[in-house]
Symmetry: C2
Amino acid sequence: MLVTGASGFIGRRTLPLLLERGFEVHAVHHRGERGQTPGVEWHRADLLVSEELEPLIDLVRATHLLHLAWYAVPRLYWDAPENTRWLEASLRLVERFATSGRRAVLAGTCAEYDWSFGYCSEHVTPLRPTTLYGTSKHKLHGLAAALSERLGLSLAWARLFFLYGPGEDPDRLVPSVVRALLRGEAAPCSEGSQVRDFLHVDDAAWALVRLLESKVEGPVNIASGRPVGLRELLLRIGEAVGTPELLEFGKVPLRPGEPPLLVADVRRLANEVGWEQRWTLQTGITETVEWWRDALRQERDKVRDV
Amino acid sequence: MLVTGASGFIGRRTLPLLLERGFEVHAVHHRGERGQTPGVEWHRADLLVSEELEPLIDLVRATHLLHLAWYAVPRLYWDAPENTRWLEASLRLVERFATSGRRAVLAGTCAEYDWSFGYCSEHVTPLRPTTLYGTSKHKLHGLAAALSERLGLSLAWARLFFLYGPGEDPDRLVPSVVRALLRGEAAPCSEGSQVRDFLHVDDAAWALVRLLESKVEGPVNIASGRPVGLRELLLRIGEAVGTPELLEFGKVPLRPGEPPLLVADVRRLANEVGWEQRWTLQTGITETVEWWRDALRQERDKVRDV
């Protein structure tokens, strides 16, 4: 099987799980470093370049595809022109993969939904993305689904919500707050009234693997389904670090139009795919904070060695 | 001003607040006992009977109306034929009140929304009631709004969500669990994965009074906007009583079609009406448990005296 974005935040977590399930794993990376998981066959390729993508697909001739690669620079990815290039490349990938492939899972996003509805249910909530990222993913789903049907490929569309966990980009919300507090710096936050759906990246990786193994087709939310206030999430981080007083709630204004609630309906994932959440928010945040504590210690040690 | 359902769970909580705001309060009751609030003028009348309703309205000649009376027997009210009779009587009430009245707040319900959307926002979420109660309230809103516009009345429609607090009907969820635990009996519950929106009845009463005083028209959710898992709510009750081990989660099956999440958007209430929640779930549940502890003690003392 083929995993794209295999060196990314989610991708690298899927590799040991896929091996454990008996897959022969071919992992594609480009900018990111290849991981250390033994038993994985790594391929370096820029999927945006046809001349690199096509020979790779033809070489591997995989039956299963987990396509996670995309443009993902924090903040910039929402409206970067790279989104449309990834849409095109993803379609080429699906088409070429179909010559040998039987089953594909592609990464979608909660940003496809109309966020004014707040609660996102696959067969109920209207889709009305307001960013180029959400729009590109949404279009890719429609096109890839039509293509798959014509080519006899079984396709599931994994709508990922808010993830957290070790190895997340340091510029994203959870790592930026964790790192500030671990350095003893104040962390200016909004008032934290927003309710969101946070899932540990390991749980997301498991969900993707279970989904790939299942016969479920169409959109499936990958999320916890458990609403948590941002204030509560941040306070858990504060408690785990031991310095909740460094959280400065209300210092950052809410972005205009920021929805009060964004939570996933996870009944498809639970009942049809048969997935169960393993990490509680409590244990997941504690693990994440400890991971960053080690990482910062190593950063300091490196500086000292120089 | 006139309050209907004034001896009810919510109604009796609004009376001292209305007096405090300087209203001359005329309170209507029928089956329930009149309350003890000094300064309130009580009237006994069956609003379902025109011959009782009309003379009362003509006697009081109120400028403000808070209409809370309705058929409310736990479980039965969802589909009882009384709902349509209350719809008719409420329309007669609004029409007659308009001869002297300027401003009315009528009680609606979260059961007007299409619950498959989960998150209920006044101007976004479709209305698709599935019970006679929800349908009757929804029709009343449409008819009362049209009538009010024709008669020059300012009308707000207060959509009440899940309330709790002292004095709730003992057959409803929170009191039934509180009473079982206080008696040392086991309380069979569902697994408790449902996410709901619970508001203390005092906060609801305040919201209704603030809404009545405001100029806001149309539907306004009366709720906390803060999602809480039923399991967490029940555990808080268990902790407050001191016997969480008596909660038997998973003993009662989920009702088919029970929505995983039902939460209100409270931005209209917060931003347009200017209301703020006063009770946290923690303090509210503790107060409710203590209220029932006293009530059960008094019940026991009465039995002993006989």
